[in-house]
Symmetry: none
Subunit: 202 residues, 4 copies
Amino acid sequence: MAPEWSTTAARRNGILAAALTLFNEKGYEATTIDDVRQAAAASTGSIYHHFRNKQAIAAALFVEGLAGYQRELLEVFRQNPHARDGVPAAVRHYVDWCMRNPALARFMLAGRDFEVREATTAAVREMNARFTAETAAWRARNVERGELRPLGGDAYLAIVYGPARALVRSWLAGRLSAPIEEATAEVASAAWRAVAPPGELP
Amino acid sequence: MAPEWSTTAARRNGILAAALTLFNEKGYEATTIDDVRQAAAASTGSIYHHFRNKQAIAAALFVEGLAGYQRELLEVFRQNPHARDGVPAAVRHYVDWCMRNPALARFMLAGRDFEVREATTAAVREMNARFTAETAAWRARNVERGELRPLGGDAYLAIVYGPARALVRSWLAGRLSAPIEEATAEVASAAWRAVAPPGELP
Amino acid sequence: MAPEWSTTAARRNGILAAALTLFNEKGYEATTIDDVRQAAAASTGSIYHHFRNKQAIAAALFVEGLAGYQRELLEVFRQNPHARDGVPAAVRHYVDWCMRNPALARFMLAGRDFEVREATTAAVREMNARFTAETAAWRARNVERGELRPLGGDAYLAIVYGPARALVRSWLAGRLSAPIEEATAEVASAAWRAVAPPGELP
Amino acid sequence: MAPEWSTTAARRNGILAAALTLFNEKGYEATTIDDVRQAAAASTGSIYHHFRNKQAIAAALFVEGLAGYQRELLEVFRQNPHARDGVPAAVRHYVDWCMRNPALARFMLAGRDFEVREATTAAVREMNARFTAETAAWRARNVERGELRPLGGDAYLAIVYGPARALVRSWLAGRLSAPIEEATAEVASAAWRAVAPPGELP
DNA sequence: AATGAATGAGCCTTCATTCAT
DNA sequence: GATGAATGAAGGCTCATTCAT
């Protein structure tokens, strides 16, 4: 018996890959199942055998992307327990992940909140909860040690990741006037200046 | 009988208002002309009398929002020629404008890039060009005077407005854990720390 | 201005007529909206402009048929207050109505209970209630006068109309071995024998 | 391990039972093979191993039901050679059979004429022919003996079985206002009154 | 016998847009 | 300017059936 999972998984992955490309090219709504069918060289029925509906394809991409990103970022924090290194590293990692996964990044940044959120499962909510808990703990430890400015959680996240997000959006849109690497370095150190503890000179 | 222009303008504005609400509630694609027709208590034909097509409604909303925002922001810069005040003021203004125009803000942040951009006219491009030129000049003057850290343009914009944008997105999504005013203040001063000239102590 | 209702009504009636023919020829489920569209020389959109969905077409046919039949039958009872004449007349009328409206009869006897009942409106329920009340009163009066055998309501209806229904079903199916008129006369007088009061000799 | 035939037959019967339930609940057309698959805890392939296609499942149910009913009814006639007993007995048997096989009765009365008839095999036609011949002979003998009113065949069948059929339909639809047993007795004796020879007093 | 992935034709319905009045 | 009936292309999804294992 041939390795059945391999055939099946290949089909599923082919559909996901095709869908990701198309969603980015034409947008989620404008992409038809028939577009996906052609691009994935699958049959309509096969697509619906693997995914309940069109939304479920987008959700699968989103979840897959989010899980990968979160896994990596937690590793970054593990290797950089101190904010002085961890904050710029997290920012650089954000940009880096997007550069390594441009299609996924573009798709996730498109913010198709409606579709994705409706399809969000309990598993995803748990994934998010864990991730949030771990990162919050990392930050709390640094604040306690006086190695991080005590900011509100809302502001902290916006300050650290907002610029990276904005930068990547511009990069993906082809609106950057210089190589992204330069801006990344500036954004990473700016993040540190913005959240460094009051006394510390940058 | 009311003056004719008023009736006409009211109809047009009613359509825009209805569409804005619906776009935010269900998304642009999921909103049908018939939805708008009902919500605006107009007829199909009437809608098409005022707007070439569905995209044109979205475009009108977008342009109206953008123009208002840009006009106000330029005024902020005029009244705050020095970066020390202008940077935090611009950040606060961003959040403030969104809080005063939540529906418009939500619509514009939804990033329906595809649809809107396709409908972008030459007039809009000119509007953008002027705005960009003026703000860039303000920044250049401050850098020359040593009142602003000399950052790449890409990084500068991401650092200053990225956090505000992220904050507003969370606010609109109802994800903030505290009143937005607190976070706004933190984000505004963080922006200054991030772009203050090297020597200056915050 | 041209008589708008006429055009509109014609379109609606054309759709109904086409659908009735097709439902009888191929069955409700096997009839597609596209079949109806072609037969009615209408556009898809036009069909959906007049009827919410496919079911609503069937429901409209059913209601129209039922209303006509009930109206006529009540008139029969008005003109035949005594059971001795009324019972056979009602039976003959049942067969007669079906012979005058064979397509409608075939459709209604097909007993697409599921589809029709789901689409049954309050108006229909009221129509049925009235009809039932009037016919029950006619019967009650005859029973009181001793002109009709006192039977349970369930049995009475089955005994009087069951044979007519069975006869028409066979006729519509082309299964009769003789002209339906002969059988109709036999069925009508049999109904009277079956429900005549105990003493009365047929 | 159970004997192989038993497993096989069980599977086949399980499919039939599941299908019968579903056909009654949702209708034949609305029941999908996948519905049957789930309800029968079988696989798609297995269903198609036992039945050529969906129609064949319905046909099998229909044939099974018809054969059982006809076998029993012929026995009733054998034990009641005289019309005076045989007619009411046949009517009672009709109702009785339906009460003992409500699911099958409901399915057969649904009158899915199109589908079932298309699948009617030569074997069934022969079965019907035999049944018809035997019952016709029974009736002919009674008419010759003067024990049954000489009615046309079409009218006779309608008069005798029409009421029973109507009664059962109402019972299955839950529309009876009293226990079916009462109405059954009335319908059975009414049938005799309707077909008793002219002279005979009921 | 059983399994379940794959197929692909086809269906109902939606919806932006047009146009006669 | 307004109305709403009409259009018809297109889309998401279903489902009976096949077939390799």
